[in-house]
Structures are given as C-alpha cells and as structure tokens.
C-alpha cells in the first residue's frame, strides 16, 4: 500500500520541480533578450562608463521609450554635456525640472550648460529672473554668475561684490582676472602707426619689437640719405631709385608697426582665454 503512495508522491515532487524549472526558464528567457529594457539600461551604463556617450544616449533613449526614468534622463543630459553639446544637454535637463528627486540637480546642470554654451548675458538674465532657479545650489550659481562677467565684454560689477562669492583659495586668481579685465594692457595700432610715421621704427619699439624698430629706422634713414645725396649730385636715376626704396621701407615700417601691435594684442587675448578656460 505504501509503495503506490510513495510513487504518487515521487511523481508529484517531480512535477513540482518541472513547473519550477519552467518558470525559471521563462524568467531567464526574458533576461536573455539582449534588447530588453533592463539589458539596454545596464549596457548603456557600461557605455557611459567607457565614455562612449553617443551610444549610451541611444541605449538610454530606447529604455525611456518603454518607461520613464529620471536617472537615465539625467545621464543623457550629462552625456550631451561631456560631448560638448550644451544645447542638447539643456533640452534634456529641462525635462527634469518637475522631477521629484532630481529637480534641483537638473536645474543646476541646466544653468551650467547655458554657461558653457557661451551665452553669458542670457545666463545672467535667467539667474536674475530666477527662472527655474535651484535654491539648493544658489551659492554655486552666484559664483558662476560672477565668473561670467570675466568671460565677455560686459561691465564688471564692483570688485567687493565679485569677490564676496568666492572663498579665499580662489580670490587671488579672481582678483588677477578682474584687474586684467578692468584695465587690459592692450596697445593701440593707430598710435603705433603714427609713431612710425613721425620716427620710422618707433611704432615697432612701442609694440615690443625693438630690433625690428632699429632696423626699420636704419633702412629708411639710409635710403633717404642716399636719395637726397643723389639729387644733390644730379644723379637723377639713382636718386629716384633710392627714393622709391626709401618710400617702400617707410610705408612698410608704418604698416608693420600697426600689424605688430595687432599681433601683440591677439597674443594677449589668446593667453587670457587659455587661462580662463583652464580655470573653468
């Protein structure tokens, strides 16, 4: 009598195991789908870590087509930001302004994207109107606003107001930028040209090219002397030849002085921009 019952129990036990196995297989069949939202998300995370941002965005967008996910939306924004596509980053962060968990962070990143996009006056206008302003990060944005004045040609606020946003470690660099911005050591090309017109070579010296200035002075002077000397001796052909040469060197010296000052100003601007970029 026991044996048939035992057999019945063995059969039921096996059926239960079988049903359990089938359920597991079904679950695994879903996870073996490489294009399931879960798998696309984890693959996207891997791409994000590898800095393959464009592909990570594609994967995250595919997941978002199935279900909303604020973190993935935020990471899409970050991906665009890291790729330098600040306008696309702004567009993505805007979608998170009403997020219950990431609203403040999204607003901060939105403002950072506007700043990095380069529209500094627009950036300041948005901050002034407190448009979607993240209160939790108001100090960070105040510093960014202060820094934006150094990035374009707008009127600087008072120095004390600027410096109040920064801590002691940054104040020294900010003061340096501020002084440079307020009174940039640019030189005037017109002034250089006029100086060279009066005394050949003087404009070049003003531009910092002392050797060139002396050379221009000597060449122009010598050819002028020779021209005058030839006219005095009635050697007309040679006289006109040296006159032409003197005029050529004189004109070149005036033009060259203005160009030298423009090069000087450009190199100054370039070195300032590099320093500014490295600071941000």
């Amino acid at each position: 009598m026991d044996k048939p019952i035992l057999q019945q129990w063995n059969s039921r036990y096996l059926i239960l195991i079988l049903l359990f196995a089938v359920s597991q297989i079904s679950a695994q069949r879903v996870s073996y789908d490489l294009f399931s939202p879960h798998n696309r998300k984890i693959f996207g995370d891997r791409l994000f870590c590898e800095k393959d941002y464009l592909r990570a965005i594609d994967e995250y967008n595919a997941v978002l087509n199935h279900m909303p996910n604020d973190i993935l939306q935020y990471k899409i924004g970050l991906s665009y930001f890291f790729m330098g596509r600040y306008f696309d980053a702004e567009r993505n962060y805007k979608k998170l302004f009403k997020s219950p968990f990431l609203s403040e962070e999204a607003k901060l990143e939105y403002y950072r994207s506007v700043f990095y996009f380069g529209d500094y006056s627009g950036f300041r206008e948005k901050i002034n109107t407190k448009e979607n302003f993240p209160l939790a990060y108001s100090n960070e944005l105040s510093r960014l606003k202060a820094y934006s004045y150094l990035m374009d040609d707008s009127t600087l606020p008072p120095e004390s107001e600027m410096l109040s946003k920064f801590d002691d470690t940054d104040k020294k660099s900010i003061i340096e930028f501020y002084s440079w911005k307020q009174d940039p050591p640019y030189k005037s090309p017109m002034k250089a040209a006029i100086m060279s017109a009066i005394i050949p070579g003087l404009g070049k010296v003003y531009a910092g090219e002392i050797g060139d200035g002396i050379t221009a002075f000597l060449f122009t002077g010598l050819f002028t002397y020779l021209a005058v000397d030839k006219f005095q001796r009635d050697q007309t052909t040679s006289a006109w030849l040296f006159t032409a040469l003197a005029a050529f060197f004189y004109g070149g010296n005036v033009y060259g002085s203005a160009a030298a000052v423009q090069n000087y100003n450009a190199s100054l601007l370039n070195s300032t921009s590099i320093v500014k970029l490295s600071y941000t």
Partner: protein, 279 residues
C-alpha cells in the same frame, strides 16, 4: 514509468535553457555581422559591443573585437582601431588569429604614418612566427610603410625583393624618376641665379630672379668701381644679397612643391586605381 517520462522532459528543458542563451548570442552575432557587411559601421560597433558585454564565456570575443577594430579603421579612428585589434590579439586562440590581429595593427600604423612602430612590429612578427608568416608579406608591408612616408627609393627596393616586375615597384621607380632633386636645384641657383627655378619649370620666376640679380650685381660692382663704397655696400648688402638668397630659397621651395605634386598624384592612383591589398 510516469516518473521516468517526467525526468526525461526535465532533462530536455534543462538543455533548452542552455540553448536559448547561446541562440540569443548567436543571433546577436549574426545581426552585428550583417550591419558590418552592409558597411553600417557605427551600428555594427554598437552591436558587437553589446555582444561582448553579454558574452560571459567570451566565445565571440576575438571575432567581435577584430570586427570592431575593422569598423573603427574604416571610419578613420585609428587609435581606437589599434586598441581593439590589440584586444583581439589577446583573446586569439590560434596563431593565425594572432597574426591577423598584428598585421592589422601594422597596417593601421602605416595608415597613420607611425612607421617606426610598423617597422618594429614587422620585425617582431617575423621573429615570433618565423614559419607561419611569409617573408614576402613582411616585405610588402615594409614597402607600403616607405610609400606612406614618401620614401619611394626604399619602397622600390622592398617591392623588388618580392618581384622585379611588381606593379608597386614600377610605380615607385616612376615617382622617383619624375621627382626633382632639391639639392641640385639649390646648387645650380648658387652658380647661376634663376637656373634652379627654370629647372623646376618656373620660367617666369627664374628669369625675373636672374634679372634682379644681374641688375643689383651691376649696380654694386659699378658703385665700387666708381669709389662709391658706402653705396656699393648698401646695394650689395641689402638688395643684391636679398635677391640672391631669395633665388636659391625659391628654387628649393619650387622643387619641394613639385615633388609633393608628384607624390600626391601617385597617392591618388594608389587610392583610386590600385587593385592590390592596401593598408
């Protein structure tokens, strides 16, 4: 009897579990390959990377890494290509796969003109696989490396070792014959101003240069003869010297420019018309 039947079904389902996972990866590989074969390289890279990510047993690693490398190479992303060819070499299971990976790395180095790396790797390849790698293959790629750094003379020597009638040897010889000698152009300009420019086909510039040098030379000598020493020094030092120097500098510049044109013509032929294996 009934228990036996259930056990058989249970084993069958277990086997199915293994097959489903393998089948998904196999389908993914086919999908990635189809994108690669249709030259859709950006998507192919994405799908190979997806395959690599989910392929825990790394059975497709060599193939996926190798094809990612080829895709990046096609897109001109040589640094990434080298990285993935390097990974494919590490996951290669047999010598032929390792050799293929290394050859691709060498070819990418040739393309991006890091030929020192290419030469070193060719030597290494020959040392590591002396029996599997044909010496003609190594010589062929050495020849290409010389071509890419504009050294047509050495390129000709390399292809000559493979076959004295090799089409690339003939091309290299033709380029070398057509090129102008920069040294010769400069030298004859020292002797006769303007001749170097005439040698390179710039006749107007050559005759103008000759004219200026004759004029300033005459005026300088005339000034000295007539005891106008200061004038002679000024004309000779400031004008004649300037035009004389400009003459041989121009000759050098024109020769180099012409040679660049000749090389570029050869590169265009190689890109558009040459049917052999290219880097």
């Amino acid at each position: 009897m009934r228990a036996k039947t259930i056990s058989y079904y249970f084993i069958l389902f277990c086997l199915l579990v293994v097959n489903i996972r393998a089948q998904n990866l196999s389908e993914q590989l086919n999908y990635a390959d189809s994108l690669f074969n249709s030259e859709n390289y950006f998507d192919a890279i994405t799908e190979y990377k997806r395959l690599l990510f989910f392929d825990r047993s790394e059975q497709y690693k060599y193939h996926a890494d190798f094809n990612i490398g080829l895709s990046y190479k096609s897109g001109g992303k040589y640094d990434e290509a080298i990285k993935y060819f390097g990974l494919s070499e590490l996951s290669a299971k047999i010598d032929s796969q390792k050799i293929n990976s290394r050859l691709q790395i060498i070819r990418v180095n040739i393309l991006r003109r890091t030929t020192n790396n290419a030469f070193a790797m060719l030597d290494e390849l020959q040392n590591d696989f002396p029996e599997q790698v044909d010496s003609n293959t190594v010589t062929y790629w050495r020849g290409w490396a010389y071509i890419m750094v504009d050294d047509w003379e050495n390129a000709s020597l390399m292809f000559d070792k493979i076959d004295s009638e090799h089409p690339l040897k003939k091309l290299a010889d033709e380029v070398e014959d057509n090129k102008y000698s920069v040294t010769f152009a400069t030298l004859i300009s020292y002797i006769l101003p303007g001749s170097g420019q005439i040698y390179t086909g710039n006749y107007l510039s050559g005759f103008l240069s000759l004219g200026w040098n004759v004029l300033w030379g005459y005026l300088t000598i005339h000034a000295f003869i007539t005891d106008r020493v200061l004038e002679g020094i000024l004309i000779g030092g400031l004008l004649w010297a300037r035009f004389y120097r400009g003459n041989f500098k121009n000759a050098e510049k024109f020769a180099i420019e012409k040679n660049i044109e000749i090389s570029n013509k050869a590169y265009r032929y190689l890109k558009n018309n040459y049917k052999g294996i290219k880097p």
